[in-house]
């Protein structure tokens, strides 16, 4: 503790820490921005220092500033530096900063690949954890591709802490790199049954996320999840599973049936509200998916509704009120789901839902409103709307009131006014709604008024009367500035009064109202309607007055128009002005005629004859394109690009130039146009869907049934249709209609009963009973108006709408991958070779060894090229691959028998792993390299970790510009050909020959000619993923691959000068039996010791933490402690294991030698050139040099090879000279100066430890001597 304090104060000596920064910001409230900018300057200074602690501190502060909204992306590189610190403390700071501010377009992210890989395989679980957490936030497609395999390995880590993180992050990897889903899926599925609940939960989480987007691919997992659901006690997992089932049931109703029982059990038993709620939700989903004709499920519905009711009404005293509110909210939400399929069972809880309208929580009220929408029936509509109207009065906040208003209109107008039995009531409701102050939804009310008035013929008389009153009282609507929204209603009112003016009681009065000077204050579009409809009114009045003997009345009306219209002629609104001046002239002309006693009313009225039909909103779109009409074809050839560019400015500025093509065209086609016009007119006349003022459209109305025989008469008697003056404070009119409606219904009912009695007397059948016994059913209510709802017009042949397409940019679309056949075959070789995850170079060694897998690399090449092509292409390719894979699989099956026989012999011989092709293609390819025996290949691989051939061809265009390209194109071609089902066999043969050639080339590559993939390593480009796996030992059962021990950790550094080296060994099961109880043991030397768990003796073996099914490989890490690192070390070791067959099990043993080169003690460490120069100048370093003769490779290849093989980094490169740096795990500096001239490469090296240097140089020499 004391130390910590001391350290804290020391830290403070030279920099502000996060706390100081926060405190400083709090103390500079007035000039915060200024203070922070000085802080950022300080941070920039700190970042320039070499001390990683200072840097980490600076980065930590930046993370805080990022939260405050400051862009810190400029420090991205420093963040990477801190991330790569070996100290956990700093590493964590670095990763946190990265997770907060890195994203796909951060370019330094490319530099992190190797660092992250290193951290992922760190023996310290928290290093791995921190790396995984960070990666989950900034994973990019590239990172995902490069690290997928490492993360896959971590999914089987011994520590559950790592396992669960690795499992979870796989989802992110899938999203970024969908190709990884298939290979990773079996293991992910395995994790569903992990002993650790955390891992299990993570796996469930990931699969649920995947399944949510593409549920059909995961149906086959249902039994497994079912088992989990019945066995798991973790509510979190249960919730996820149950939610998943909710997504699956719509696809598989049988699943639903099975689910009902366990879910109901859970509902009864659980005390966790969250679980209960999800159960109810899923039961609802199940019930929706099942056909409604399942009587035995009514019990479940009842149970759900009942439980939901409890959620809604019960307020638990122990809970916070807000949580109770949450329950209520969710209850209503779930109710609305039930409502869709089982409205009856919800409708019985109307009381409860109406209660919720009084809730003080707005979101609850809104939910309740949603529910009401689905609950209305003919019977209760008026009641519900009445209740809502009360709320409208009470509601204060305008948003909620607006919401209420729209809901009322929605409820009433739903499915073509299905539930409205009395339109007079509805019109009066609408009129009442106009009293709302400050609503934004005036246009909504207006459009309802228009819609009803147009489509319900019988209501027009009433509607017109109401609208006239509205117009009369327009001052009440427009008086207030706040009422701007509502004056839209006047638009409707004016139009209705004008259009249906024949129904007006006192048209003159209305006309007067329309032409009041105050109208000029209304918005332009409303004025325009006013003017137009004033004209219509004028025509009606004219007609009615013309019959009279007294002509003065008519002339007075004209005079009124002439007096008032000039006001509108002066309007600033063009539309108003135009209409007004037009009509003014017309009226003036009419007046003239009137003075001559000419009867003109008929002609004037003809101006406005005809009716408008409602047209469906999409009608225009749905008009089918007539045959032979190509809409995309040009009618006139478009003017050329340059012309059109010039044209616009010219049109404005240039003098009247003779226009080019366009006018000419019209002139030429004048006759043609006339012809067309004629034809069009003809067509329109014949087309019933064209809106025109011919009597044919009116026929539609006349033919519609029921207009004549409407019981309007009854109501006319009881209600004065000359509606009382519009009265904003009086008794809402709609109430009167409610009463009336009830009376009417009772009357109707009574009549019906009478009739039925009669009927029953006539026919003594039992049918009548049903009607009588039940409560008043829906059908019994006859609407007051036969609603002549004119269905909207649609063109013939209109297609049903199919607009709802999935978003093509959805990342989850790429994850729609069929996983089923994968699972059936799990355990064997479920994956097409092309689908294997890209792995580091140790796989390449395998490639060499077993040519059968060459196809692997080959297809990986095509994958690489795919990467570069666009996404669409990639998807196409995937399909192709799938095709290809199918054909391959077929072949594979055939060949397998053959293969197993052959293999058996081979394995016994322990030598040649013959060219067992998986497809014709690959076997052909393989034929060439067979000359190398397995052993040879192995030694080659050991000496030179072969570069991944996929990368070789994919990323080394500058070294071998011709051939790799060739391979690529050949590859893509080949896949195309495959698709064409090998139509062109000849071509293919040729191709194969070529390919053979390539393969040979790659092969010799691996054999030590040159490490091509490093060729791309220029100064700034990141290294492609690679590593130094080499063969350790193998026998017929197992193969061990070892990675050069480049992992270093001094985290637990309690050994003063010792360090640890981590060796990862890949065990691959090569036989058909199960390998288990593997023990790894090494004979310790004085210098190096295998770290064994505490308590075990110095000669005990380490148990390998996994078992190997046939064909599976897995990776284990072993930690060695080194005393001295200046000499290479060799350790003898043995692996013992049990081979388990179906009937027998045998003990087997495999000896191996672990070779620790000096190189393996070096860590790639970046170094700045100035620091490098200082280091060289310091004079502490001993010098040594070496000359390599006959090196034939480009210089950058050479450098890359040194970097790659010997863990150096390039400090600076000038032409054919480069300085390189590396550091040993015990902090020895190793500096190289590499020069090349011709085929001679001279390396001058400096190091503070001459023995180490000598050994490293020897190793380098050896590397190149193999060239």
């Amino acid at each position: 503790m004391a130390l910590k304090i001391v350290k804290g104060s020391i830290d403070r000596m030279f920099d502000k820490n996060l706390q100081d920064l926060v405190r400083g910001i709090r103390n500079h409230k007035e000039d915060e921005a200024k203070y922070i900018s000085t802080c950022i300057d300080e941070i920039k200074q700190e970042l320039k220092q070499d001390n990683i602690a200072v840097k980490a501190n600076a980065v930590c502060k930046l993370t805080y500033l990022q939260m405050l909204g400051y862009d810190v992306s400029w420090a991205a590189f420093n963040i990477v530096e801190v991330m790569s610190s070996s100290k956990f403390t700093y590493k964590r700071i670095g990763y946190l900063a990265a997770s907060q501010c890195f994203h796909e377009s951060t370019d330094v992210i490319m530099l992190t690949t190797n660092q992250i890989r290193k951290d992922l395989s760190s023996p310290n679980q928290y290093d791995t954890g921190v790396a995984l957490t960070g990666l989950s936030c900034f994973v990019t497609p590239d990172l995902a591709r490069d690290l997928a395999n490492d993360i896959m390995t971590l999914m089987s880590h011994t520590k559950p802490y790592i396992r669960k993180k690795a499992v979870l992050i796989m989802y992110k990897v899938f999203l970024k790199y969908p190709e990884s889903l298939r290979p990773a899926f079996p293991r992910l599925k395995e994790k569903l049954e992990d002993p650790d609940p955390g891992v299990q939960s993570a796996a469930v989480n990931v699969i649920c996320e995947l399944a949510r987007r593409n549920p059909k691919n995961y149906l086959s997992l249902a039994p497994l999840f079912f088992k989990l659901m019945t066995s798991s006690t973790n509510n979190w997992v249960l919730i996820k599973i149950i939610k998943l089932f909710g997504a699956l049931t719509p696809l598989e109703p049988r699943l639903g049936k099975k689910l009902i029982e366990p879910l109901t059990n859970l509902i009864h038993s659980t005390s966790a509200m969250s679980l209960l709620y999800e159960c109810v939700n899923t039961v609802i989903a199940v019930l929706i998916s099942l056909s409604s004709g399942m009587p035995n499920h009514s019990a479940s519905i009842q149970l759900c509704v009942q439980k939901l009711r409890i959620l809604i009404e019960d307020s638990d005293q122990n809970c916070e009120p807000s949580v109770n509110a949450c329950m209520k909210y969710l209850g209503l939400l779930a109710m609305s789901k039930i409502l869709k399929t089982h409205p009856k069972s919800v409708q019985s809880h109307k009381d409860l839902i109406l209660q919720c309208l009084d809730d003080k929580d707005e979101s609850i009220r809104l939910r309740a409103l949603d529910l009401l929408y689905g609950m209305v029936s003919k019977k209760n509509l008026m009641e519900i709307v009445k209740k809502l109207m009360l709320h409208v009065d009470k509601a204060e906040g305008t948003t909620y009131r607006d919401e209420l208003l729209t809901k009322i209109i929605d409820i009433c107008s739903q499915s073509n006014y299905q539930y409205i039995t009395n339109f007079e009531w509805y019109i009066s409701i609408l009129v009442e709604l106009t009293r709302l102050e400050g609503t934004r939804h005036g246009h909504l009310i207006a459009s309802q008024m228009l819609d009803v008035a147009i489509r319900v013929k019988a209501i027009r008389v009433f509607a017109v009367a109401q609208m006239a009153t509205l117009l009369d009282n327009a001052h009440l609507l427009t008086g207030n500035v706040q009422r701007k929204g509502i004056c839209e209603v006047l638009y409707a009112a004016a139009w209705i009064c004008g259009e249906f003016s024949e129904h007006l009681d006192n048209p003159t009065q209305t006309l007067e109202a329309m032409l009041r000077p105050k109208v000029a204050t209304l918005p332009g579009h409303i004025q325009a309607v006013y003017v137009q409809n004033a004209a219509k009114l004028f025509a009606t009045i004219l007609k009615s007055q013309e019959g009279n003997t007294d002509s003065t009345a008519a002339q007075e009306t004209s005079q009124l128009m002439i007096d008032r219209l000039p006001l509108f002629v002066q309007s600033a609104n063009l539309e108003v002005q135009e209409r007004a001046s037009c009509i003014l002239q017309l009226v003036k002309y009419i007046q003239k005629l009137q003075q001559k006693d000419v009867e003109i009313a008929e002609e004037v009225i003809a101006l406005f004859a005809g009716e408008l039909n409602p047209v469906a909103p999409k009608a225009q779109k749905k008009v089918p394109v007539p045959e032979g009409l190509d809409l995309d074809a040009w009618i006139n050839e478009p003017p050329s690009e340059s012309e059109s560019e010039d044209e616009q400015p010219r049109a404005i500025f240039a003098k009247e130039e003779p226009k080019h093509s366009r006018p000419r065209h019209t002139e030429v086609d004048e006759k043609e146009l006339a012809k067309r016009r004629e034809a069009r007119k003809q067509e329109q006349a014949n087309n019933p869907f064209y809106i025109k003022s011919s009597p044919s459209s009116q026929k539609v109305y006349q033919e519609a049934p029921g207009v004549e025989h409407i019981p309007v008469v009854q109501i006319d008697l009881s209600v004065p249709l000359k509606v009382p003056v519009f009265c904003p404070t009086g008794l809402p009119m709609s109430d009167q209609y409610v009463k009336l409606e009830e009376e009417r219904r009772q009357k109707d009912k009574a009549e019906k009963k009478k009739k039925e009695k009669k009927k029953r007397k006539e026919k003594r059948s039992g049918r009548g009973k049903r009607h009588d016994s039940g409560p008043e059913s829906e059908e019994d209510i006859t609407p007051a108006h036969m609603v002549d709802i004119v269905t909207e017009e649609m063109p013939e042949n209109a297609l049903p709408s199919d607009d709802d397409d999935k978003d093509p940019n959805d990342p989850h679309k790429a994850l729609d991958i069929d996983l089923d056949n994968l699972m059936e075959m799990a355990g064997r070789r479920p994956l097409a070779d092309s689908e294997k995850l890209p792995v580091r170079s140790h796989r390449a060694a395998e490639v060499l060894k077993s040519p059968a897998q060459d196809g692997d690399a080959e297809s990986a090449v095509s994958q690489e090229t795919k990467k570069k092509s666009s996404k669409e292409k990639r998807e196409k390719k995937k399909d192709k691959d799938r095709d290809r894979k199918k054909s391959k699989e077929d072949k594979k099956k055939k060949k397998k028998k053959h293969k197993s026989e052959e293999k058996g012999e081979d394995l016994l011989g322990g030598q040649e792993d013959g060219p067992v092709g998986q497809s014709e293609e690959t076997s052909e390819v393989a034929a060439q390299p067979t000359s190398t025996t397995a052993e040879e290949a192995a030694t080659v691989a050991a000496a030179e970790a072969a570069p991944v051939s996929e990368l070789a061809s994919g990323t080394a265009p500058d070294s071998e510009p011709d051939e790799p390209k060739d391979t690529e194109t050949e590859e893509t071609k080949s896949s195309k050909h495959k698709k064409k089902k090998q139509k062109k066999e000849k071509e293919e043969k040729e191709k194969k020959k070529k390919k053979k050639h390539h393969h040979h080339h790659h092969h010799s590559d691996g054999g030590g000619e040159e490490s091509v993939q490093n060729g791309t390593v220029e100064e700034e480009e990141p290294l492609p993923p690679m590593s130094n796996y080499c063969l350790l030992a193998e026998n017929s059962y197992i193969k061990m691959m070892m990675e050069d021990a480049d992992q270093v950790n001094d985290i637990q550094g309690n050994l003063q000068d010792g360090s640890q080296v981590v060796v990862s060994v890949i065990f691959e099961n090569k036989c058909d039996s199960f390998l288990k109880s593997m023990e790894f043991n090494v004979l310790d030397s004085l210098n190096s010791k295998l770290q064994r768990p505490e308590g075990s003796g110095p000669h005990d073996g380490l148990t390998v933490p996994f078992q190997l099914p046939p064909g599976v490989s897995n990776e284990a890490r072993f930690v060695f402690t080194m005393q001295s690192i200046i000499m290479p070390q060799k350790l003898k070791g043995t692996l013992t294991f049990i081979v388990k067959n179906e009937d027998s099990s045998t003990h087997e043993k495999l000896d191996f030698k672990l070779h620790f080169t000096c190189t393996s003690y070096l860590i790639t460490t970046p170094c700045y050139s100035d620091a490098f120069a200082k280091l060289l100048e310091s004079g502490d370093l001993k010098c040594s040099s070496v000359k390599l003769e006959g090196v034939v490779m480009p210089f950058h290849h050479l450098l890359a090879r040194i970097c790659f093989r010997h863990h150096f980094s390039v400090v600076e490169r000038i032409d054919s000279c480069a300085s390189m740096y590396s550091r040993s795990i015990q902090d020895h500096h190793v500096c190289l100066l590499v020069k090349t001239s011709g085929q001679t490469v001279s390396i001058d090296a400096k190091c503070d430890e001459p023995t180490l240097l000598g050994n490293v140089l020897d190793e380098i020499k050896q590397t190149f001597s193999q060239c």
């Binding site: 130390l3 910590k4 304090i5 001391v6 350290k7 804290g8 104060s9 020391i10 830290d11 403070r12 000596m13 030279f14 920099d15 502000k16 996060l18 706390q19 100081d20 926060v22 405190r23 001390n51 602690a53 930590c60 993370t63 939260m67 405050l68 909204g69 400051y70 862009d71 100290k87 946190l96 907060q100 928290y126 995984l132 957490t133 936030c137 802490y161 669960k164 993180k165 979870l168 992050i169 989802y171 955390g198 939960s201 993570a202 990931v206 996320e209 509510n235 979190w236 969250s274 999800e278 807000s322 509110a325 949450c326 329950m327 909210y329 969710l330 003080k360 929580d361 979101s363 609850i364």
Partner: protein, 202 residues
């Protein structure tokens, strides 16, 4: 999936922001502001879910929040998460903070936002819930802190070295010395009592 986790105080000052999808800094601030406006105008006893289009997500997303004394904890989640489950998770988060900071208050979050991030990282990873068991979370957080402490002890000599370098006159250290003397690590006791409001619920 969880899209974002925000903590801000009653005045809308961000105390922690964790976005599991990338936005640039300006938009992040805008989201925080808007979320604050949405959440802060709600009554204390109303339900803890908020729907509706906002900058983040869209219609599939919900805001689930809880208000503790001076702080709002807001989770923005999509429909794959259980609403009540997330409410519980917020509770677990807060209780964990309480355990780790021993009677947590806003000041702890203000001065140790990095630690809060570390705790959160053990609960939620990349937008997915990693662990809901409080004890497990605390164990892991403690283990990591322990590791950090052991490293601090080890690095001491290095710092010592640097100190001597700096004292040789390369950098003016006076300013920092003074501040180092006046207050050590930001202990709660050193803060003005007015700020030290403890949360009632905990």
């Amino acid at each position: 999936m969880i899209k974002a986790i925000l903590i801000f105080n009653n005045h809308g000052k961000p105390r922690l922001s964790k976005f599991y999808e990338h936005y640039n800094e300006d938009i992040e601030q805008q989201i925080i502001r808007e979320t604050f406006h949405l959440v802060s105008k709600r009554d204390e006893n109303v339900c803890n879910f908020l729907e509706g289009g906002m900058l983040i997500g869209g219609s599939d997303y919900k805001l689930i929040y809880r208000h503790y004394a001076t702080l709002y904890f807001v989770f923005c989640v999509d429909s794959s998460e259980s609403e009540l489950g997330i409410l519980d998770l917020i509770q677990v988060f807060v209780e964990t903070l309480d355990k780790c900071f021993e009677n947590v208050c806003e000041l702890d979050l203000i001065f140790h936002v990095d630690k809060v991030h570390n705790i959160l990282a053990e609960m939620v990873m990349g937008g997915m819930v990693l662990e809901t068991n409080m004890n497990e979370i605390i164990t892991q957080v403690d283990a990591q802190n322990k590791m950090e402490k052991s490293e601090v002890r080890l690095t001491l000599p290095v710092h010592y070295f640097y100190l001597s370098v700096y004292q040789a006159g390369q950098v003016d250290t006076g300013r920092y010395c003074r501040s180092a003397c006046s207050c050590r690590i930001s202990c709660k006791e050193h803060e003005p009592p007015g700020n030290a409001q403890k949360h009632q619920h905990w």
